[in-house]
Amino acid sequence: MSMSKKYSFVLILLVLIFPAAISAQSIHIPPHEKVIFKNGLTVLLLEKHGVPIVNFAALVKTGAAADPVGEEGLASITAQLLRKGTQKRTAQQFAADADFTGGSVEADAGADFSTVQGEFLNKDLARGLELFSDALMHPVFPQAEVDKLLAQSLDGVRAAKDEARSVLGTYYDAYLFNGNGYGRTSDGDEISLTKIHRDTIVKFYETYFAPGNIILAVAGDFQTAEIKKKLEEVFGPWPSKPVTAVKIPILPPVKGKKLLLIDKPDATQTYFAIGNVETAAGDPDRVAIRLVNTVFGGSFTSMLNESLRVESGLTYGVVSAFDPRKAPGPFGIYSYTKTESTVQAIDMALQILQKLHKQGITAEQLASAKSYIKGQFPPSIETSKQLAQIIVVNEFYGLDDREINDLEARIDAVTPAIAQQVIQKHFPADNLVFTLIGKNSEISSAVQKYAEKQDARLISAPGFWPAPAQK
């Protein structure tokens, strides 16, 4: 039987791709080197010894934002197929070779970018590099593997809908952005996945997987000079080609209030998200936002958790989170409660949001958030895998090591007055988007009071929002 625990924050929504990193004074990111190969490939090398593992993280600067309308999921499918057949190996041979080392090669795509990651023991470094580069440079996308993966992904979407908490974020983003920009699901849906074909996959790969469009970070147990030479040998001959950056639409926050109710007739809890469009990666206010959000809904003693969980017992988990990306991403309050207490819990969350605006946060709360973020930071740069991801993503968003090395100073510089400004500027007050997954027959009339505009769908209806156009 599974273990349980004191609490959990709600789901996967919280994985901040953008490492809004805060450091203790003694914490610095280990020194690393940046090299740009003649073909345009950016290479970042970070030596870290102790554990005999080497991590590769390649970031392709194009993600699901480049999916053609109606073919959502294309970037993700393309990435996942990289290891499903190359010029040298069938999918089965690739899996056998990778598994034999105990290592892995994994790939996927988010909205802003695609990633290919590899992990190997240093004793298998040569073999690992060969496998990793084989997937990145020589995929052949066999028709049979394309068909297999598309069928699996289709059922994957259906399986996710069996568990409300795993699709709450997808519905919320889709409704928040009204199916545009970040509202287009990077995993695809039941309709879009049937529109994806091998030729569009090959075209996507050929258009965007070019050295000049890729940042490759390697971190772990190696000697820099040695690995640089090996990487030159392997990736140097990869021919360069021009790649046009994909424009990500900048969508304004939603005006007014709107509510989407997803009917899951067997649900005994209502899962809800409330918020609006918010900041982008690299926002100058990012440190202050993180501090205020820690107080509002980003820790166990947060205002939201104190109220919805600790004092009232309405839920096992509530959290608020920003998801800053290239363009402004979502901000949301995420939680769940039993069907009967739906209105009570949502009312309470809204009251806490109002309280934040009316009363702000105390000096004591701000000081606690500062200690908390500083104290919890070091374990987030402990492994070579974490470090590879951080440096590659920072490079992509145009950020640098000061994100880590200067952050204690940046935290200290946030005053109560700055916190107050950030609340007014970045936390929505009257303009709110609601997304609920629950038992429609028991909650629909009660939740009408939240928004003038109401929408409803059945969870088993294909797609998320809006309903995909049937062709």
Binding site: G50, K148, D162, R165, G313, L314, P379
Partner: protein, 449 residues
């Protein structure tokens, strides 16, 4: 950001498995452990690592749902929640407030066997953490109001992890069917009606039964020295008197003499299949060979089950197996996610055929070597962080009886032969020893009629 409970559960589940299998001498030397048993019987294990200025502290109590009775199932887990709701010095809500204000965070998990408390904090918070831990072990307060609000929290946790989670629901039914005598038959989180009816006296009784210092093991890993930890223990933990440990769990599950089957009908997009086989407890010698077998069958896309069900037959999205650390004979569980409209029995048949194949002829040398490499990588995944190491050392100490056994693991692992793997497949993975659980989508059944 904190991990969700599923991730923690998985972490805890894998760690014994990989430790038992690898632990090369080189790896072991990287983290020498210093141990001391306090006068009250609590064992303390310390491992210094100054690479980051942080500390992970775990306290394992040897009490879990196996120590419960019908009527109060889930009490260990509920008690775990109450350990955060106020003691003498740090009242309700104060523990978390003071810990966060000093840069620390905490969590806990409960299993059938143990209840584990976790603190993660910067070195500077060390004295505070010991003060907090001593306070709640010694002087926990049972505030009737807190009990009621926490009851709501746990009910919400259950709704989330069982009622609204097809996997959680089916697994609960699986344990309840595979065990008819032993306490592993009830869920760690407890039946909903028990959650609704616990009393303050039940909690007090549970505290008195399970929370003697002598029933606990503390593991501290990070930017510390053993000397300073032992000094803090002498001041804060050692003076706390011990008492009798929980009564031994004497019930033995009788051998299963034939297949058991159960079906759950529920609105769902996809069916789900789980199969359970009784296997020995963690400290049994067959543990190593069973892990190798599971690795070859289930781990990675080149594994036999993935190749068969997902890649070749294309009847499943995913197939995996799990065994949790356990004091008593437990279950090896196989989970298959059939594709939409695929009859779970089709997956079942393919799984039996693959099991038969490992019983009929031995695995290859290449497969055996692959399994070792996979275990080695998993081992490094566990020990590459101070948090992973604290959990791993503690889990080994508690479930295998001695953390030092991790240094023998490489030897035990190397000793596993192809014939051993074949033998455990034949011994434990037979028809009479299995329980099969299927979740069938109600809507789909209706549409077929």
């Amino acid at each position: 950001m904190k991990k969700n409970w599923l991730q923690i559960a998985k972490l805890a589940m894998v760690c014994v498995a990989c430790l038992s299998c690898v632990g090369t001498p080189a790896a072991a030397q990287q983290f020498p452990v210093t141990e001391r048993t306090l006068k009250n019987g609590m064992k303390v294990l310390v491992q210094s690592d100054h690479s980051i200025p942080n500390v992970a502290l775990y306290i394992f109590y040897r009490i879990g749902s196996r120590n419960e009775r019908p009527g109060t199932t889930g009490l260990s887990h509920f008690f775990e929640h109450m350990m955060f709701n106020g003691a003498k010095k740090y009242g309700p809500g104060e523990l978390d407030k003071v810990m966060e204000a000093n840069g620390g965070s905490n969590n806990a998990y409960t299993s059938q066997n143990v209840t584990v408390y976790q603190d993660w904090f910067p070195r500077s918070a060390m004295p505070l953490i010991f003060d907090i831990e001593a306070d709640r072990i010694q002087n926990l307060n049972f505030d009737p109001q807190k009990i009621e609000s926490e009851r709501g929290v746990v009910a919400s946790e259950r709704r989330s992890s069982v009622d609204n989670d097809n996997g959680g629901l089916l697994e609960e039914q699986l344990w309840a069917t595979a065990f008819i005598a032993h306490p592993y038959q009830w869920p760690v989180i407890g039946w909903m009606s028990d959650i609704e009816h616990w009393t303050i006296d039940d909690l007090k009784h549970h505290f008195a039964m399970g929370y003697s210092p002598s029933n606990a093991t503390m593991v501290v890993v990070g930017d510390v020295t053993p000397e300073e930890i032992f000094q803090l223990c002498e001041k804060t933990i050692e003076p706390i008197p011990s008492h009798a440990p929980p009564p031994p769990v004497t019930t033995l599950e009788p051998p299963q003499l034939g297949e058991r089957r159960l079906v759950v009908h529920k609105p769902a997009e996809l069916p789900l299949l789980m199969m359970a086989y009784h296997v020995p407890q963690t400290n049994h010698p067959d543990f190593y060979a069973t892990n190798i077998l599971r690795t070859i069958l289930f781990q990675g896309e080149s594994s036999r089950m993935y190749q068969r069900l997902v890649d070749k037959d294309q009847i499943a999205l995913d197939v995996s197996s799990q065994v949790e650390p356990a004091f008593d004979p437990t279950l090896a569980i196989i989970v298959a996610q059939p594709k939409q409209a695929i009859d779970p029995e089709k997956c079942e048949k393919a799984i039996y055929e693959e099991l038969d194949r490992v019983k009929l002829s031995t695995i290859t040398d290449q497969e055996l070597e692959k399994a070792k490499n996979i275990r080695l990588m998993e081992f490094y995944h566990q020990v590459r962080t101070i948090n992973g190491r604290a959990n791993t050392i503690g889990t080994y100490e508690v479930f295998s009886g001695d953390y030092k056994k991790l240094f023998d693991a490489a030897k035990n692992y190397a000793a596993v032969t192809k014939e051993d793997v074949q033998r455990v497949a034949k011994t434990y993975f037979g028809a009479n020893n299995r329980t099969v659980a299927s979740l069938l989508p109600e809507n789909e059944e209706k549409s077929k009629q």
